[in-house]
């Protein structure tokens, strides 16, 4: 899972540009995240100019 702090997002969609699986997309004025497509590669985390994306460990069941 990744977590996006949307309040700090500048809507540049850089994350969506580098995402190899299309798990991130700019829709209107928000980045949408599709966790089922995410492979947790972390590329979006590195590229985000505002540093508002974090990789999160899976919650313990």
């Amino acid at each position: 899972m990744i977590r996006i702090r949307h309040e700090g997002c500048i809507l540049c969609a850089g994350c969506a540009s580098v995402c190899p699986t299309g798990a991130l997309e700019l829709v209107g004025n928000k980045i949408e995240y599709y966790p089922e497509k995410c492979i947790k590669c972390g590329t979006c985390v590195k590229v985000c100019p505002a540093a508002v994306i974090r990789l999160e460990k899976e919650a313990k069941k």
Binding site: I10, A13, A16, V18, L26, G28, V47, A50
Partner: protein, 405 residues
């Protein structure tokens, strides 16, 4: 609403609206869809543009879209030494745009010619018929997803280019091939109507900081750094986060440290090689979606508009041949021979420049002149390299790469 068109264009940026304007003018029924709520917004760009190319296209850009007429550029080395490069008097120099106004105006021109534009509408998938691309599925905010058909689909999707991916193009960007950028619109900044570019691996690793003056004492102040240099990557540089580095730069800048911020924006730009191919049956890719971006500074507006025009003129002729790949190759081949050649030379320059140290940059700035800058940015490296290497032989290994065919 209509569901059959001659051409569907995905993306209402400069590439898409240029394509749509030219195709609609010749009577084609063109639909442009854009996923954003408003054309041109949010801005994801430094807004700088060479004026000449746009004027040469015969476009009369409205005054309010041009924020500032630029007289030249000042390039500043890590030790503070600046090289000033001014346009010849009388020639059309550069502009800093108001992209929101510029992009919307380009779209309005397309509508004036008969194109239809729908905002807040995204393409979710390709529609295929007997294995051939025959349209796209679209989802307009508040409406159900449905199919729109056209024998030609044009991807002008910009960086994300999801539909072009589905059509088989490798539009994913590697970290190494992007710059990640953070930018403020600031005020009060007294400019000399020059763009300023600050280099140095401490200021902006594998990139630079820019100050682009705008009207009413505003300026776009931004930073772009290499995607692979960002903090967190195992090859990354500790502390290299675009926003933090930009804040540091501003804190240490005589004038900017007391300026206000009016907007936070940014983007991730392609600084790698263009796609290998731009066309397939019933499908074209234009502009940033095709990675047609200047790899030195990440600018893409002019290239996008040129590609949009070239692709539209090719598509007009390809209709009777059913928009087959072969019938649309003229766009790809012409682009590669003209813009593509320049882009490749500049890519070579980028690969070399990212290897030099701050001391190297200081030395280079000491010996080169504005004329050298003209030569190297247009791909003539030999004389300048000889001059630089004469005083710093250890650069032979790095800069020698520029001279290889």
């Amino acid at each position: 609403m209509k569901s059959d068109y001659d051409i569907i264009v995905i993306g209402g940026g400069p590439a898409g609206s240029t394509f749509a304007r030219i195709a609609a003018k010749e009577g084609r029924e063109v639909l442009v869809i854009d996923k954003r709520k408003e054309i041109g917004n949010p801005v994801r760009c430094g807004e700088g543009l060479g004026a000449k190319e746009v004027v040469d296209m015969g476009l009369d850009v409205p005054k309010q879209a041009i924020s500032e007429n630029i007289l030249g550029a000042k390039i500043i080395a890590p030790n503070g030494k600046a090289i000033t490069w001014k346009e010849d008097s009388g020639s059309t120099g550069g502009w800093v745009l108001e992209r929101k106004i510029f992009d919307k105006w380009l779209c309005e021109l397309a509508v004036d010619e008969g194109a239809e534009i729908r905002t807040y509408t995204r393409a979710t998938d390709l529609v295929k018929e007997n294995g051939k691309i025959a349209g796209v599925k679209i989802k307009q905010w508040g409406n159900d997803e449905h199919e729109i058909r056209a024998p030609l689909v044009v991807s002008a999707e910009g960086m994300e280019a999801q539909i072009a991916r589905k059509a088989g193009f490798n539009t994913v960007h590697k970290l190494y091939d992007v710059d990640t950028c953070y930018q403020y619109e600031m005020k009060n900044y007294d400019s000399e109507k020059m763009i300023e570019l600050y280099f140095g691996n401490k200021i902006a690793p594998r990139g630079y900081v820019w100050v682009f003056p705008k009207k009413d004492k505003r300026a776009n102040v931004g930073i772009g750094i290499g995607g692979a240099t960002v903090n967190g990557d195992k090859h990354g540089i500790p502390g290299a986060e675009p926003k933090k580095l930009l804040d540091d730069f501003i804190k240490n800048h005589e004038q900017l440290k007391d300026a206000s911020t009016l907007d936070d924006f940014g983007g991730v730009i392609s600084v790698g090689a263009p796609l290998d191919s731009f066309v397939t049956d019933n499908f074209m890719v234009i502009g940033t979606a095709a990675k047609q971006v200047d790899p030195l500074h990440g600018g893409g507006i002019t290239l996008a508009m040129e590609a949009g025009a070239l692709a539209a003129n090719t598509a007009l002729k390809a209709k009777e041949k059913g928009y087959t790949k072969d019938s649309m190759m003229e766009y790809e081949e012409t682009w590669k021979k003209t813009s593509g050649d320049a882009v490749n030379k500049r890519l070579k320059l980028r690969h070399v420049l990212e290897k030099v140290t701050d001391d190297d940059i200081n030395h280079i700035f000491n010996v080169i002149t504005p004329e050298d800058l003209n030569k190297i940015t247009s791909g003539n490296f030999a004389e300048t390299v000889a001059k630089v290497v004469a005083g710093r032989p250890q650069l032979v290994g790095i800069l020698g790469g520029l001279l290889k065919k």
